[in-house]
């Protein structure tokens, strides 16, 4: 049952010598073998590479070394470069791509002693909320395999919720960590924009993307964030703010912490079971000593429109590099332009095409001011709403998603409906905030529900403190899907 352990539980057993990293890594690999045929969380796994890292970790420990994550197996979303491993972004267009270097977060994980393994399934180029846009087939929700696991980091959430790894990394552009964490019943943290390096993360929307952890509890989220956070001269958007001791924030004490409930978040599509579970979670935080008050975020209804202009515009520029010249698959053409057109037409999936075309449209001459520039201005208004709210409160609480996981295929024909389900997660990225989703209950059908907490820029300590205190008072995070 080693694969069920959290990072801190496993480290304890590794330190006492009760377990080796090889045993822990083998347990995760066995679990993948046993359940992943049904879940499709992993695109690929290099077992011998993982076991070699585990053996090296065991040798280091035998030699008296101790590091923050020495010997802990961590699985990686297929959007981060891991040296000499494939990198596909769950797309066909990258062909047989093999990373020539490690992303900064991977270097940091290695320096902390972690065993880095697996390529986790996702929506192609991180574009999607359901994991159905993967060229490798959809990952499935471990609580009900007819349901989506959420996206885009669906595989990262499934692998943690189904105990196929001890923790994982994903990326979040408009909710891609928090939303699948909520739908699969694990903890997902999106750090503040600029907190974690994106060097080696394949860019989707550069003003919004951020790398973050998926874990089985909040203590683990603090541990993993500690390892990956910090300045990096390879990423010019990385803010040189000192990294605090996140574990020190886990005091269990939320007395006097001010939590805001946005009036505008009582939307029409909010499922009554989700509302009841998140209301109860806020009550719990209040009972623990937090002060709860209503706040207003007047531009909430414009967030999705703003996001889908800015994110697609940035994506259309970032994905221009996939043109069949420098990497990936190529379809031949009589001239470079025809080669580009054919390569991209055959290599990209439909959602990626939709977004690139939309992004190209809103940036094209004649439309730039009306769409893109206007969206950037509304982004300012959305950001100001939050900064104003954070003068009155320390955190903002809401559901992570308006509904529990929906059925695979339910929304595929209607992209706009899919976009509208991102209502609670999207503003966080536009405003450059940090956010976390923690398990807070189940629907009658047995699907997980997530509570989202949002914090000020670089307010991760408050976020972790409240999430941890809530988790200590409840046992939702200990529930596991039955996969036997």
């Amino acid at each position: 049952m080693v694969h069920f352990l959290t990072i801190h539980q496993l480290l304890e057993q590794l330190r006492t010598g009760e377990l080796s990293s090889r045993e822990a890594t083998q347990a995760c690999l066995d679990r993948v073998e046993k359940v992943d045929g049904r879940l499709n969380a992993f695109i690929s796994v290099d077992a011998s590479d993982a076991l070699a890292q585990a053996d090296a970790a065991d040798q280091s420990r035998a030699a008296g070394e101790d590091l923050p994550m020495l010997g802990v197996p961590v699985a990686i979303k297929d959007v981060l470069a891991v040296k000499d491993q494939p990198l596909n972004c769950a797309s066909k267009i990258l062909g047989e791509f093999n990373s020539p270097y490690d992303a900064t977060v991977i270097q940091k994980l290695r320096a902390a002693g972690a065993v880095v393994f697996g390529r986790l399934n996702m929506d192609e180029f991180a574009m999607g909320s359901s994991n159905e846009n993967s060229a490798f087939g959809s990952a499935r929700n471990p609580w009900n395999t007819d349901c989506i696991p959420g996206g885009s980091s669906g595989g990262s959430a499934v692998a943690v919720a189904a105990d196929e790894c001890i923790a994982s990394l994903g990326s979040d552009t408009g909710g891609s960590i928090r939303q699948p964490a909520a739908l699969c019943g694990c903890v997902g943290l999106k750090p503040t924009y600029g907190r974690v390096s994106r060097y080696g993360l394949v860019a989707f929307a550069s003003s919004l993307d951020q790398v973050g952890p998926f874990t089985k509890d909040v203590r683990d989220a603090a541990t993993l964030l500690q390892v990956i956070a910090g300045a990096d001269e390879q990423d010019s958007t990385n803010v040189p703010e000192p990294v605090p001791d996140y574990s020190a924030a886990l005091s269990g004490d939320v007395k006097g912490l001010r939590i805001g409930l946005p009036r505008e978040y009582q939307v029409k599509g909010l499922d009554p079971e989700v509302k009841a579970a998140t209301d109860a979670a806020v009550k719990q935080l209040e009972a623990l000593g937090a002060e709860v008050k209503e706040i207003t975020l007047p531009h909430t209804e414009y967030a999705i429109a703003t996001y889908y202009i800015i994110a697609t515009a940035e994506a259309s520029a970032n994905l221009a590099r996939f043109e069949g010249v420098r990497y990936g698959a190529r379809l031949d053409g009589a001239d470079p332009e025809e080669m580009n057109r054919k390569t991209r037409g055959a290599g990209f999936g439909e959602e990626v095409k939709r977004r690139i075309i939309l992004g190209t449209y809103v940036l094209s001459s004649g439309y730039y001011d009306a769409y893109y520039l206007r969206a950037q201005k509304v982004r300012t208004l959305i950001r100001q709403d939050f900064l104003k709210a954070f003068e009155e409160v320390d955190l903002i609480a809401s559901p992570t998603t308006p509904t529990p996981a929906f059925k695979i295929g339910e929304k595929t024909g209607d992209p706009l409906q899919m976009y509208l389900s991102d209502i609670y997660t999207i503003s966080c990225n536009l405003a450059g905030l940090c956010g976390i989703s923690v398990p807070c209950g189940f629907s009658k059908a047995g699907l997980p529900i997530g509570l989202q907490l949002l914090g000020k820029p670089f307010g991760e300590p408050d976020l972790l403190r409240a999430a941890h205190a809530y988790e200590q008072a409840t046992d939702w995070h200990t529930h596991r899907p039955n996969l036997d």
């Binding site: 209804e301 470079p336 449209y361």
Partner: protein
């Protein structure tokens, strides 16, 4: 609303099948119609936000430093010769 895709599709250099074009045009039209919602707001005098960090013009000394080797930089390319990327003929 039907969106005239042809110019954006050409600029984006993506070849669509006729079936794809038929599916995408109304879907994108619907999304464009939805984002027009932003026209309800008065944004005169509002500064645009390009990104949410306080940083600007992050620079470093322009000095040579270690980077990918030529071999590593080329190893994922579909076609190379003599240390270069190969593309279809551009000039007659």
């Amino acid at each position: 609303m039907e969106m005239d895709l042809s110019r954006a599709v050409k600029l984006a250099r993506i070849e669509l099948t006729p079936e794809e074009e038929q599916r995408l045009a109304p879907q994108l039209g619907e999304v464009l119609q939805y984002v027009k919602k932003l026209n309800e707001l008065d944004v005169s005098g509002v500064e645009p936000t390009a990104h949410a960090t306080p940083l600007s013009n992050v620079t470093r000394e322009d000095e040579p430093r270690e980077s990918l080797s030529q071999e590593d930089a080329l190893r994922n390319a579909p076609k190379t010769a003599n240390g270069l990327f190969v593309v279809p003929k551009i000039v007659e």
